[in-house]
């Protein structure tokens, strides 16, 4: 099944492609590698999920924000690549959590994103190498920011 068909089957609704927040390109392609800029949890209504996970936000809210980063990345890639079917697999992600000083479950937060990509791209091609860490603050106090490298077909 194609990626586009799987997204429909899963009932996943993509937000609009997020507007750029600075001087950068959303995606740069070199050969078959697509470098995707850091994406925040851009929601369908144009707002972003904000706050520090572990104090302002619960783990579950952080996971939802990480999933929203993934949806925003998909929206950007559909816009930039024409079709998500051009994506072969997830290579490497950096998951950045806007973290309370004593919150340590960043991998669980970023799993909200990784579960989405495993559903969309499949359990082999949808799961890549990853680092998931706390840092911050993040731009606009967003809860999570994720950048990714895809391999294209």
């Amino acid at each position: 099944m194609s990626i586009e068909a799987r997204i429909k089957e899963l009932g996943i609704e993509l937000p609009p492609a997020p507007p750029k927040g600075g001087i950068y390109k959303p995606v740069v392609i070199v050969g078959t590698m697509a470098y995707v800029s850091g994406h925040g949890p851009y929601l369908a209504d144009g707002t972003m999920s904000k706050g520090r996970v572990g104090s302002d936000l619960t783990l579950a809210q952080g996971q939802a924000a990480a999933r929203a980063c993934g949806l925003a990345i998909l929206a950007t890639c559909k816009n930039e690549l024409g079709s998500l079917d051009r994506i072969k697999r997830v290579v490497k992600s950096l998951g950045m959590v806007n973290s309370a000083p004593d919150f340590y479950d960043h991998p669980k937060v970023i799993n909200g994103y990784s579960e989405l990509f495993a559903q969309v791209f499949g359990a082999d091609h949808g799961i890549g190498a990853r680092s998931a860490v706390g840092m911050g603050p993040l731009p606009g106090n967003i809860a999570v920011e994720i950048e990714v490298i895809f391999e294209l077909v």
Copy 2:
């Protein structure tokens, strides 16, 4: 116009290539991809711009520090590659801002670097994928650190 000629025309003065601050190579080339180590805001007098943006430093000072990171990267690449004309385009940058806890304008800070590269390499090839985030502290309390992947000619 060549990159080297454009730098002259723009009146840009590069600092000396910064000394290494640890066990690493300034640039590693694999095929046509050049991986450049994180660079701080190394100034022509051998000092570094220091402090947290949003408390010790203003946004404008942070932007100047980000631009200085870019100039230091250019100095390193000229030294390592022989000529900046070997660089085809900016692929991906990670802009790390030494941030006050309540400062959220990291993309604006890193624009100081991205504007420089857009001038030097042109509005298409000079603008790449990017993440621009707060973290820290940074080594030696420097204000900004930036790493980049270039594609070579």
Copy 3:
């Protein structure tokens, strides 16, 4: 001398390959590039070195933790690649230090990792491009996390 033989000669004992802490692959290979997920200081007894460097831990303890990250990466790569002799060289590392707010010697911390790789892979191939910065907190309050890109033979 092969990498495997050099490790024996140096008397280096690898820990078991660390268990995964989330939804990711330890290593993803694209062509001759191996993207290795972020690794913590996983010790032979299955525990991790924890705490902030500069307050909970000394510089020397931080360096030992960075070396432990390198050993864990070697254990993972031996497991995933079959043999470390498939690794040609270190391309790019990101060294993330769980840092006290006023600790600034992150490059010295990450040198504990870079010295190990220089010994194991040699002074040319074992030293790559690098960024070494403070951030945090890190998952499970581990002291250091390091991700790396290797070029394979």
